[in-house]
Symmetry: C2
Subunit: 289 residues, 2 copies
């Protein structure tokens, strides 16, 4: 068992840190809103630190899961950031979905302090985090990955090293591009079928057996038909991810016209007040269109 | 066992008619190009008719699988069409992917002659037809469906009645809309990942376990990475289907902006000479972009 720190107890980080404690690791947590960290400590018999630096002190591995690039910089290299507490030889694993650029930037700064960095965005959502069955896409050295993986396994069903630092983030971006296309196609198909007056439950049952099948069809088809979006992966988060995708695509010369379009569709969902709706809410703008 | 006729021995109809013969039905075939019908008869010990009318004569069930709306009109209600040979009380099952409108039009004309019509487009492609594991989406009466289904089962893994005449075609359209979105998303994701220098085989293995998973990812991901499109469901056929989708969407007021866009992308693929390429070739225009 290891001495670890977990920075950022949001909807993902809170249960992930819980799985680390349940696995027997000695966990110190830091969260910007202290009351949430206090609640976590009460539930898991853990220790709370006042700053990321204090959380990182004496930890063999430090994990974080925060909002965006700026939040990540703040908790690692900002005042009282983890960098001030990290010991040489320790490993820093970041589960935030960030740009590949910030992952490389932070990795360079940590490397200078003798600390290995792994960018490790996840997929599987809140339910995956709660059940400890996340997919973790890592970028870093094999040596650092070998040290982190047994600990990450506490909340992962799959954990793979995709390449050097940044490769985890780039893999997550591929994932989000695919998801966006699947959902928009599904939304148009279901909307079309409803307008045509079909029994859509029956339609889903039939077409899910063939070339149109997708995880989204099987897990979001029915709720899309019902117009329920009060769960799942929020539109605000998806827009953050797609923003990263579009920046990176511009940088590496990849053509992603539909992804760009769908990002605009999500902007319209936000304008409808759907910031916290599930990503499957793309069907709603077709209905109101 | 039944006396049946099969009109249209294309890449789909040829093996479908073969499964009917193998199941023990007495099959008479008609094909515009006679030599193909002769070959079929030699292989299956079947009987060839000179016209659709002659094929339909004495048949309890008549099947067709032809190119488009006009081809369907020609073989049913044109000169020497099946209508001239069909006996009252027989059932006509059409496997062509057509408009819902032509299905209703032909159903009305057959109804006047005492013949029941079922629109029954399929999914599963050439391989599905060869292996007899197609998904068949039917529109018609329960009575007609009950008579046709045991015969259709010779080449179907799933066969469902979706509603009145036209509902089979509309279900197929929902399927094609979903497929289009999945493929374009997958194409952009894979193209992005290749430009970013990722090990894409490894990426596919990881993301196919989560929310980005799709039949297309599992069955077309690798060939898309390799740029191989010399198989599968041809772009020309997909454009025909999407044309039907867009007409129908305009009629019922459904908003399908991405489907419209992807139809234009397929037009670009045709301009690249990709008429016979698999639908997964959408990635090619991104690469050449």
């Amino acid at each position: 068992m290891s001495r670890v720190a977990f920075i950022g107890l949001g909807v993902m980080g809170y249960p992930m840190a819980g799985h680390l404690a349940a696995a027997g690791h000695e966990v110190t947590v830091y969260n910007r809103t202290a009351v949430r960290a206090e609640r976590w400590c009460a539930e898991h018999d853990g220790r709370r630190a006042e700053t990321p630096a204090a959380a990182a002190r004496d930890a063999e591995l430090v994990f974080s899961c925060v909002g965006n690039d700026d939040d990540l910089r703040a908790v690692v290299t900002g005042p009282d950031g983890a960098l001030e507490g990290l010991a040489p030889g320790s490993v820093y694993v970041d589960h935030t979905t960030s740009s590949a650029a910030v992952a490389r930037e932070i990795a360079a700064q940590l490397d200078a302090a003798g600390v290995a960095f792994i960018d490790a965005p996840v997929s599987g959502g809140e339910v995956g985090a709660q059940n400890g069955v996340l997919t973790v896409m890592c970028g870093g050295t094999e040596h650092a990955f070998a040290r982190a993986r047994p600990v990450i396994d506490a909340y992962a069903r799959a954990c793979a090293l995709m390449g050097a630092v940044g490769a985890g983030q780039l893999t997550k971006m591929v994932n989000q591009i695919c998801v966006a296309g699947v959902i928009q196609g599904l939304a148009e198909g279901l909307h079309f079928g409803q307008r045509a007056g079909l029994d859509m439950e029956a339609v889903l049952e039939v077409i899910a057996k063939g070339a149109a099948q997708s995880w989204q069809m099987e897990n979001r088809g029915e709720t899309m038909l019902e117009g329920r979006y009060d769960f799942g992966f929020a539109v605000d988060w998806m827009r953050k991810d797609l923003g990263i995708v579009l920046d990176e695509a511009a940088r590496n010369g990849a053509s992603v016209p539909m992804t760009r379009l769908i990002d605009g569709y999500y902007e319209e969902i936000q304008a409808l007040g759907g910031n916290r709706w599930d990503t499957s809410s793309l069907i709603e703008r077709l209905r109101r269109g």
